[in-house]
């Protein structure tokens, strides 16, 4: 049954030291900044974070890394023009990095939510990222065995929730949200609006409420994706 939290801080309060936290977003689009900030204030450390990137600038995920709360990150593209906080941590050996091809990362998360114990993909076959992984031939081509990723928690940014936790997203901010919500033991979702149950057309719901545990409404201006400057 959906919990509606009164603040981002309340929403993340159950996250414990050493948790694996799936964090939505592709760059800043869909990144649940308010929840990440609350997690930083919450202070649970030794986290494993799964995100496509490793933070931008010194806000959101980058600030969480900067606070020393993350010991391991699984992502596809850590190195960006403004990923200097991660870069410093990595070069000084303060964070462990697992680089996963982006599609393999997405499919491993989907598998985690879908009860798939492993799948074979051509992606990375014959490359350094396949070293140490099982591979196998299908129809004369090499495929790599990849294993699911699950989280203790997911932090997701959606656009609107109804009173049960059914979610819709906004444009390319959808990205990892739906698959992360499904792959976590507890999904915590920030939205810009909560509407009455029944107000969302059943045909357009992207994340059914079964995947959502906690919803918190945050300042709409901050989540509508408009440039702030």
């Amino acid at each position: 049954m959906l919990k509606i939290a009164q603040s981002a801080d309340a929403a993340v309060s159950a996250i414990t030291e050493g948790s694996t936290v799936l964090i939505g977003g592709f760059g800043t689009a869909g990144q649940p900044i308010e929840l990440i900030d609350a997690l930083r204030r919450h202070g649970a450390g030794n986290l494993t974070v799964v995100n496509n990137n490793a933070g931008n600038g010194d806000v959101g995920l980058a600030a969480l890394l900067g606070a020393g709360l993350v010991s391991r990150i699984i992502c596809s593209f850590p190195r960006q023009v403004d990923s200097y906080i991660f870069d410093d941590l990595y070069r000084s050996g303060k964070i462990e990095l697992e680089v996963v091809p982006q599609g393999t990362l997405a499919e491993r998360i989907r598998a985690g939510g879908a009860g798939i114990a492993g799948f074979y993909t051509r992606t990375s076959a014959g490359t350094p990222l396949a070293i140490g992984k099982e591979s196998r031939m299908f129809d004369g081509k090499e495929y790599v065995l990849e294993l699911p990723i699950r989280g203790d928690f997911a932090l997701v940014k959606a656009h609107i929730s109804d009173g049960m936790g059914n979610l819709v997203y906004r444009k390319t901010a959808r990205n990892f949200g739906p698959i992360m919500a499904a792959a976590a033991n507890a999904s915590i979702v920030q939205v810009s609006e909560i509407v009455d149950t029944g107000a969302l057309d059943p045909e357009i719901i992207v994340t059914p409420c079964i995947y959502v545990d906690t919803v918190v409404q945050v300042d709409a201006d901050a989540t509508h994706g408009k440039a702030k400057a």
């Binding site: 592709f26 760059g27 800043t28 689009a29 869909g30 496509n52 596809s76 593209f77 850590p78 190195r79 960006q80 870069d87 990595y90 070069r91 990095l97 680089v99 996963v100 091809p101 982006q102 599609g103 393999t104 997405a106 499919e107 998360i109 989907r110 993909t121 051509r122 992606t123 990375s124 076959a125 014959g126 490359t127 350094p128 990222l129 997203y169 906004r170 444009k171 390319t172 901010a173 959808r174 990205n175 990892f176 949200g177 739906p178 698959i179 992207v206 509508h224 994706g225 408009k226 440039a227």
Partner: protein
């Protein structure tokens, strides 16, 4: 497809725009295309609407329009390079697993990526220079390499030290094996087919000069 190899001896080497234009002209009409981060993004500037090419961006969108400017900028609507873009009529949004299923499942006709090296067998290296100090970051490159029906690459043919980036074997970490079908460079374009490398066009130099500087057997179309 059949070509005649053409030497444009009097032409200047192509700049990035000219290369992008050449790629754009080669993309079949009405195809579904993914343009990689960086230089390939420029290709979209030369895809006119009449061509009917539909752009996929890995972060969950089919039907991507031009870069957004001014009030059209919406930070929830970005491309793989995290640049604000627009949507065209007929756009669809989907989540990341669906986006890469589209890619991995072989539904994209063409992808265009930058390259550090391409081998004569079509092996691609474009995600890491393998330096001890470099932070590995692959993004969607490996998924595109195996997923798109045709992989076009764009690069300068020669590195700063003059060595060829079209090689017999890639020395940089691989992105994908045997995936590249075309190579667009500043001084020549190449087509990889039938386990061989054909020169299609040259710019500013002759096929013979290319042969003297590229350590790969170069065939020509007659």
């Amino acid at each position: 497809m059949s070509f005649h190899t053409v030497e444009h001896l009097d032409a200047a080497p192509l700049n990035r725009d000219a290369m992008a234009k050449l790629v754009a002209e080669d993309i079949p009409a009405n195809s579904f295309v993914n343009l990689g981060i960086g230089q390939p993004t420029k290709v979209s500037d030369y895809l006119t609407p009449e061509r009917g090419v539909i752009l996929h961006t890995e972060n969950g969108m089919l039907g991507m329009g031009p870069q957004a400017v001014g009030d059209a900028i919406d930070l929830d609507l970005i491309n793989a390079g995290k640049i604000p873009v627009t949507e065209l009529p007929g756009t669809a949004y989907f989540h990341h697993a669906d986006s890469f299923a589209m890619m991995r499942g072989g539904h994209l006709d063409v992808c265009v990526m930058g390259a550090f090296q391409v081998s004569a067998q079509g092996d691609l290296a474009n995600w890491s220079t393998g330096g001890d100090d470099s932070i590995p970051a692959v993004g969607g490159a490996m998924d595109l390499a195996v997923g798109a029906k045709d992989v076009y690459t764009m690069m300068t043919l020669f590195a700063k030290d003059g060595s060829s980036k079209l090689v017999t074997e890639c020395t940089y970490p691989l992105t994908g094996l045997g995936c590249v079908s075309r190579i667009y460079t500043d001084v020549a374009t190449f087509i990889l087919e039938n386990d061989a490398v054909y020169v299609r066009e040259t710019f500013s130099m002759s096929v013979d000069e290319l042969r003297s500087r590229v350590p790969v057997e170069l065939l020509t179309y007659s």
